[in-house]
């Protein structure tokens, strides 16, 4: 009897091992992005990151007892190719896709994934409409959308500085005016404050005292600025010399040490938003070390975003113990995962919470994050 039970248990064990080998049950995840053409340098880091995550997880025994297999396909950032590669990934039977990189390609491919009920997590597509239109409930991203900065600045001005009357100045450029227009739109939508001045200045003019007089006359609670640091330094200097002490807040074009160097003591107290620094995050350091072991040199753009996207997807499958679309989506929205970008989960639209920009203030000649 004893012998029989021993043999039986051995057989059971054997069956289990054989089962996991013979069912060739791997968990396939797709990666799509440009791996050839002029934009290849934007796509390759994400693909490398996903492979590193898969290797790390496989070394620990995989997800739900299955090994992770990465299928990378090249869309060259072209919308017409993106639809082809999306169809290919769907027919391969992937459980989720990391990608695409360029917003245009992502937009073209999304309807195909939506019909196939596949989760897509992009590491680089920043077009606001991808999440905000609400058309793609299967779409998530680990990068902040283009308008996140404007949203953050407006939120800060309304809720932390409690401004009611806001002056917005921009430099008429694509970046500066674009940021200023979004800020204006968000302020008007909030209904909490009024934009009392919206003016463009010419970069490189010999002085800005006339526009500063105009700001002074309109008595705003806050001055918001869209543009780069040379103009910001000139305007802030002129404002402070004319004893106009209202808070001044600008975007990442101003969060540069040369702003502080040039504006000197007048820079004190100026706010500027900028990408959140993740380089001191231990998870980021780990990912970087893994990269340098496997490849060489610097990982390139969107590496940490791609790494976070892969970790988020695999974590969601692990946590929900399922590869079903509904379960993965639910887990992505509710379960935190720690990534090189920090601890993240996704909001109902698909943007990662806690990813993106922070507001900094010049204090003692340095940019200090405002908590």
């Amino acid at each position: 009897m004893k012998f029989v039970s021993k043999v039986f248990s051995l057989m059971v064990c054997f069956c289990l091992v054989a089962g996991s080998v013979f069912a060739q049950d791997t968990l396939k995840i797709g990666v799509a992005g440009p791996y050839s053409g002029d934009l290849a340098s934007y796509g390759i880091p994400t693909a490398n990151a996903v492979k590193l995550v898969a290797k790390k997880i496989n070394a620990k025994g995989g997800v739900l007892g299955k090994k992770v297999e990465v299928i990378a396909v090249d869309d060259q950032c072209k919308p017409e190719l993106a639809t082809n590669v999306a169809t290919k990934l769907v027919s391969e039977g992937v459980v989720g896709v990391i990608g695409h990189i360029c917003s245009g390609a992502t937009k073209a491919a999304l309807p195909i994934y939506k019909d196939a009920r596949l989760v897509v997590i992009s590491s680089a597509s920043t077009n606001p409409a991808l999440t905000e239109s609400g058309e793609y409930p299967n779409f998530f991203r680990t990068i902040a959308p283009d308008d996140a900065q404007a949203r953050l600045d407006v939120d800060f001005v309304l809720n932390r500085l409690h401004a009611k009357k806001i002056a917005i100045i921009h430099d008429k450029g694509d970046y500066g005016k674009g940021l200023a227009m979004m800020e204006k739109k968000f302020i008007e939508e909030s209904g909490k404050a009024k934009v009392i001045l919206f003016e463009g200045v010419t970069p490189g003019a010999i002085d800005y005292s006339a526009v500063v007089q105009k700001i002074k006359r309109n008595r705003p609670d806050v001055v918001m600025f869209g543009g780069y640091h040379p103009e910001a330094a000139k305007i802030v200097t002129t404002m402070r010399r004319k004893r106009l002490k209202v808070p001044f807040i600008a975007g990442d074009g101003v969060r540069d040490v040369s702003f502080i160097k040039v504006a000197g003591r007048y820079a004190e107290g100026v706010y500027a938003s900028g990408p959140r620094d993740v380089s001191s995050n231990p998870e980021y350091k780990e990912a970087l070390a893994e990269y340098q072991k496997a490849f060489h040199g610097k990982p390139g753009p969107f590496f940490e975003n791609g790494y976070a996207a892969a970790e988020a997807l695999l974590n969601a499958i692990e946590q929900s113990k399922s590869t079903k679309y509904e379960d993965i989506v639910k887990a992505l929205r509710t379960k935190y995962v720690s990534t090189p970008l920090g601890k993240i989960k996704f909001d109902s639209k698909g943007d990662a919470e806690g990813v993106g920009f922070s507001v900094y203030q010049v204090r003692g000649g340095k940019f200090v994050e405002v908590k």
């Binding site: 010999i206 002085d207 005292s209 040039v262």
Partner: protein
């Protein structure tokens, strides 16, 4: 009404700087009929020289006033040397060439000087210390006009008065007027024309350097490209006032400064340049030679 005076003084400040630079354009044009496109770069070189002198003075621990005076004087001397050298290298060999040749040579000089400073100094904006002290007696007026603005306006006014007197009452001034009227005749009468032309470049460059140091100190930053926009605006001012005419350059500079300032204040700063150039077009339609320019049929 306060707002009006705010804009008035900010326009006057800006206009004064335009006028200082415009004088260089107009004097050179008056004498050799050349648009000296490298003039904006002389202004930029003046600002950089002022910055270097200010740095040395602060190491030596000199007072603010003496630093300002030294920076201005040395920048003026240094920029004059540049102005004369540019004339010797780029314009004098082409004196009898077709009129387009020196013009192209001037554009070449402008590009050369910009890149020279870019390579020798830096491409970034560098901070310029505020050299103008906060005068105690200015306190009650500071809402309208700051100490820097007052210094710019006063220094410009003094420089222009001195220049007018110089041209009117000195021997070399007389020689300049003679050369401007008719170079060949002046030569025949024994005027050293080359000397007069050099003198013109010295005065024009010195005034531009003065403007460069003052605006550098006022704005707190300079880079190698500041001469371009300042040069374009000053050239506009010179044309507006009547190129070749010294009071015209001053008037043109002030009108341009006020137009920009009031357009910003009462309309929108987006349209500041639109107003400035519309005014230029309007004036040139009714007075093709500029406000104070004399139509010289012979030159057409």
């Amino acid at each position: 009404m306060d707002y009006f005076w705010d804009l008035f003084f900010s326009g006057l400040t800006r206009g004064s700087i335009y006028a200082l630079i415009a004088l260089g354009y107009t004097m050179v044009y008056g004498i050799i009929e050349l648009i000296n496109f490298a003039h904006g770069e002389i202004y930029m070189l003046g600002a950089f020289t002022g910055l270097i002198v200010a740095g040395i003075c602060s190491v030596l621990g000199l007072s603010l006033i003496s630093t300002l005076v030294l920076a201005i004087v040395i920048a003026m001397i240094y920029a004059s040397a540049y102005g004369v050298t540019v004339e010797r290298i780029a314009y004098r060999p082409l004196r009898n060439a077709p009129r387009l040749s020196p013009l192209i040579s001037a554009i070449g000089m402008s590009i050369f000087l910009q890149n020279y400073v870019l390579l020798a100094q830096t491409s970034k904006f560098v901070p310029f210390p505020n050299l103008i002290p906060d005068f105690a007696f200015m306190q009650p007026f500071e809402d309208f006009i700051g100490p820097s603005e007052l210094v710019i306006i006063v220094v410009t006014a003094v420089a222009m008065t001195v220049l007018t007197l110089f041209i009117k009452y000195t021997k070399i001034g007389k020689a300049m007027r003679a050369t401007a009227q008719n170079r060949k005749m002046a030569l025949l009468c024994g005027v050293n024309v080359d000397h007069v032309i050099s003198m013109t470049f010295i005065i024009g460059s010195a005034l531009a350097a003065l403007g460069g140091v003052l605006i550098g100190s006022y704005m707190g930053q300079i880079n190698f490209f500041i001469g371009f926009i300042a040069g374009i605006k000053a050239f506009t001012a010179a044309v507006l006032g009547g190129i070749g005419s010294i009071p015209g350059a001053v008037l043109g500079g002030l009108i341009l400064g006020w137009t920009e300032s009031f357009a910003t204040g009462y309309v929108s700063s987006d349209y500041q340049d639109v107003f400035a150039f519309c005014l230029l077009v309007l004036i040139l339609i009714f007075r093709p030679a500029g406000i104070l320019g004399r139509t010289n049929t012979k030159k057409v």
